[in-house]
Symmetry: C3
């Protein structure tokens, strides 16, 4: 079976945010899949998706600190018209990636115990972010 | 339905290049998919694929500048036989990744307004790059 | 057809390791796929999967050297309870990514000549790592 729908995540401040529950609750079709895959595709170029530790807020804070050091606002950027946070946001978005493909088994996401889905908001004011969820399985 | 074919992209100089149109034109099967996924897999270890801003050439130039700073040629590399651009190219290829999975809806790639496919050519003379495109959908 | 199974990889020391053979040998179902995809999903947040050069051990050693420089243990981390290698491991895991989707053609992985699957072990003592392999094809 195939299911495809757009999901809009609530606006969040710059940083790394745990959104597993918000995404799973928007996708009741997952319950109908005994074995398959969920593909999540963010429709933006200045935010991204990744999978990481779902317990400690410290981990998400450290992600933001590291990302700002690795892709600084103060750099030899030429694309600066949209503000100092814009070009670093594009780079960070490609580093983490715009999409995730996740296994589905027995009606649920088959993630590791400590794995959660992060929305990585790289702009100061990114607003609500939308993604296309595609479910495929049997 | 499944469709799978090899696509060879024209040779490009080192840098980040917008190739959305070149790829879509090579895949007429996309028109037959009402809901599904396109998987693009580059067959190389010194070039990569990513998705980012499709409008300003400045963005693509800044990607190259940042990548050269983050993965410098002047570093403690031990694998240097194939030239100073080789080992940084391998690292950059894994940072951006060898493949993309993209949603397809109503016969077209379902990308965000500003999203385009980048071929990231990390070698000085990488030559033509080939990928395997796999389309799956209904 | 769909096939899904958990595969446990043997424990490896910190570093980048070629595991193509270990994974393919655990997945006899690949032989039944004429055209399709293999999705590999690591169930951990401090190890990752990537695809890169399958010949020279120097390349894998240089990956480790670069990763340690790009994500140093000596940094402004706040999440330090689990040891100095823990928080860098989380960041490296997201940089490389938890999963790979690979084309399958005529019963085999359709990789480039020089492409091999790397298990990236980012912890000093990560232990055996498990992944969910999902095969889909015709």
């Amino acid at each position: 079976m195939w299911a495809q729908r757009e999901v809009t995540l609530q606006a969040r401040p710059r940083g790394f945010h745990l959104v597993t529950r918000e995404i799973v609750e928007a996708l009741p079709e997952l319950r109908d899949v005994s074995a398959g895959l969920l593909h999540l595709h963010l429709l933006h170029t200045s935010a991204s998706l990744t999978l990481n530790e779902n317990a400690s807020p410290d981990v998400r804070r450290d992600f933001e600190t590291w990302a700002n050091a690795a892709v600084p606002e103060d750099f030899a950027w030429t694309h600066t018209l949209e503000g100092p946070d814009d070009m670093p946001a594009h780079i960070k978005a490609s580093l983490m990636g715009p999409s995730l493909t996740l296994p589905v088994a027995r009606g649920r996401l088959a993630l590791g115990t400590w794995q959660g889905i992060y929305l990585c908001e790289h702009r100061n004011r990114g607003g609500a972010r939308s993604l296309i969820a595609t479910i495929n399985g049997e």
